[in-house]
Subunit: 187 residues, 2 copies
DNA sequence: GACAATATAGACTGATCTGTCTATTTTTAT
DNA sequence: ATAAAAATAGACAGATCAGTCTATATTGTC
């Protein structure tokens, strides 16, 4: 299953889909940029949709191994980690190749809720909420579900305003609002 | 400029682009669904991109004449109107044809910040923030900019979680968080 | 070195894409 | 009624789309 070519194809497709979208990027461009033969792609993936799914899974995996780890490195305590979440967002938004969230963008292009691509996007967002709920719970919030919901709203809102509206300070604004919610939760 | 055919084309395209996305919907499908000749479309719009821009402008206009008016009808005072914003969101999310925000989705497919389509999406989001800032200011918030930013984050976050994650209660959760921010702003 | 697995280039299908052109018909306004 | 404007159907161009097939070449493994 795992192979160097397959890996390289996923990485290339991730970059292209992330920048230009899923429908706008054709198979031809993926294989050209990857420097790989057409049949190599189709030997590793049954279809373009399968490639997109592999891309989203890799993105999700990177989120866990990069974003989450960054938060965990930044602070030892749950409350500190909640706040560090918004610092990590800020870093992400500031990167040159920031083109929004691949899952939000995927759901935009595949609006059918039963489409595996949309479903994968949903699963990722549920993971984010679960992560925040876990932190809220460990931090001893009065209502962990409520706090997690508020934090998730601020997180997703920040991604949208940073990408769509170009608000460079979206993460910092979100952090300030998060501090209010955290205080309200008794922390 | 204005004509019945042109109007009908914009409405049809709005429905199709809104449901299936911008790249996924071709000119052929727009004219077929609109029951209009090919050249009729190209006589009214120079290109597909021009049609998309017309669609976004109509969507923005409908937002002002529908969403904003709904909020203004719901409450006479600024604070009440801020809260009514989230009720209006809730109604929107509950509609059968809810497929997310056309501006967020447009920015997803046209990530180049200088693309007129992306720019139009940005302008719409700025309008939303301006509207919330006006309400926050009139309500007498200590820091209208800060409150407006927080409310905008909750608004956009709710749209994303309702669409991508299918969270039916996103608007109500956002309203609860908004109440906390409003209280913190001294209202 | 031999064998099997993997990758290669590129032709090919059939569909779809945006946009142009023409020749004819319908609508509108005077 | 007549002239001008708008809409029509449909062919056409040239590009691109996803996906299949084949025949050759390059790998990696024992």
């Amino acid at each position: 299953m795992a192979s160097a070519k397959r890996d390289h194809l996923i990485d290339t497709a991730l970059r292209l889909f992330g920048r230009d979208g899923y429908h706008a990027v054709g198979i031809d461009r993926v294989i050209a940029e990857a420097g790989v033969a057409r049949m190599t792609l189709y030997n590793h993936f049954k279809s373009k949709d399968e490639l997109i799914l592999a891309v989203l899974h890799r993105r999700d995996e990177r989120f866990r191994n990069s974003f989450m780890r960054q938060v965990e490195r930044a602070a030892p305590d749950p409350k500190g980690r909640i706040l560090a979440t918004f610092d990590a967002l800020d870093t992400w938004f500031a990167s040159d190749d920031f083109t929004g969230c691949m899952f939000i963008n995927a759901a935009a292009e595949y609006s059918d809720k039963n489409d595996p691509i949309h479903r994968t996007a949903r699963e990722h967002k549920d993971l984010v909420v679960d992560y925040l709920r876990d932190l809220a719970s460990k931090a001893g919030a009065a209502d962990p579900d409520g706090l997690a919901a508020g934090l998730a709203l601020l997180t997703e809102g920040a991604i949208v305003l940073a990408h769509v509206a170009g608000h460079k300070d979206a993460a910092r604004k979100a952090k300030k609002a998060a501090e209010v919610l955290i205080r309200d939760a008794g922390l």
